[in-house]
Symmetry: C2
Subunit: 188 residues, 2 copies
DNA sequence: TTCATTTTGTGATTTTCGTCACAGGTTGAT
DNA sequence: ATCAACCTGTGACGAAAATCACAAAATGAA
């Protein structure tokens, strides 16, 4: 196991040496300064990123306010699937929340690899399954949990979020005002 | 095109005659009475359903109240992916909202088909991509839209929801009280 | 048709949470 | 070390939506 990326790939689907190498040669590393933008609203997304170090923040701009919908930490993959898949302009931004290192996968290259290798297609399917489960979990935060329960959920399941993301950033992720998070935090 | 199912499959990914037949032979039709339960909370999900007629309702039980998270209409696929994928007990229910006809795909059979056919694996990946995009859209309803905007979104994008689902059922899907939906509806 | 059941509309009241305002802390750059 | 920029805590207040209660309407079964 020579790299974080290789381990991250294997954790999604166990690939043969050949398939793994195909994927590893389809990507390149990219260092990011804090605040650097990977995807802007209005731009068509053509890339999937794997986070090796630091984290990426996905947010929407609603009436001038930023609403965070995702924080992608080490060993996670992230993209704007809607834009990537359909070629429509992205409605969100993806930005480095800290100085970071990511690996970039170009959509066209990946599609080509899917055609070449059933193993890689299977990897793609497994990655999507995992992303969908995560997404449903997060959606359920809003649908079946109260504000207090949402905070407790993050404390229990994503404690690093509290350590690495400011309370202001966290508040929109949890769908409440900054002041409300502060008050919930106090009453624990 | 001999069936609704065949059309539904082709709309996800264009399959050869052979691949399409493999899938079509892996499934069987099942008629459902209104209210009939396909998946109970606590049960491990082992099936993906395709809705030919009627609709399925996915809901969670929260302190004795039912919270609807999904309505799956004609030509849609539905499952509890988290339970299906990991074999953990399901946290939700899936039930027929009307008298319905569905096609059942057993998980094990599908996994076997993925191994046999790259085309079907590709179909699976495409289906997941579509489910993930839909799921993200619905999650964004809660994250970036006000209550009034959520209702307007459904009017615009899913008008059949208003026609086929009762206002009470809709209210939990939109994350608000029944009375609030009624009042929002009046002010339009 | 009739009657029971379910669904919807609507006012009154209460609760929750957002907004505003500001003070104190923390961080980071020079 | 200093200062500006940002972040967090907290009180006061108001707006929005939940809850409660009940009437009206729609639905469906016999």
């Amino acid at each position: 196991m020579t790299s974080s990326l290789e381990a991250g790939i294997q954790s999604i689907a166990e690939l043969s040496r050949d398939a793994s190498d195909l994927l590893l040669h389809a990507t390149r590393q990219k260092p990011l300064a804090k605040g650097q933008v990977l995807l802007s609203e209005g731009q068509v997304c053509k890339t999937i990123w794997y986070v090796e170090k630091g984290y990426l923040r996905t947010f929407y701009n609603k009436d001038g306010k930023e609403i965070n919908t995702r924080f992608s930490f080490e060993n996670e993959f992230v993209t704007d699937l809607k834009s990537l898949r359909s070629g429509v302009p992205s409605a969100c931004w993806i930005q480095a929340g800290e100085a970071a290192v990511v690996w970039e996968f170009a959509k066209e290259t990946l599609l080509e690899l899917y055609r070449q290798s059933a193993e890689i297609e299977s990897f793609g399917r497994n990655l999507l399954e995992q992303m969908l489960v995560d997404q449903e979990d997060h959606a359920n935060l809003f649908r079946i949990h109260s504000l207090t329960e949402r905070y407790a959920y993050v404390v229990r399941h994503f404690p690093q979020l509290l350590q690495r993301v400011s309370l202001s950033q966290l508040s929109s992720y949890l769908g409440m005002a900054r002041e409300t998070v502060s008050r919930i935090r106090k009453n624990r």
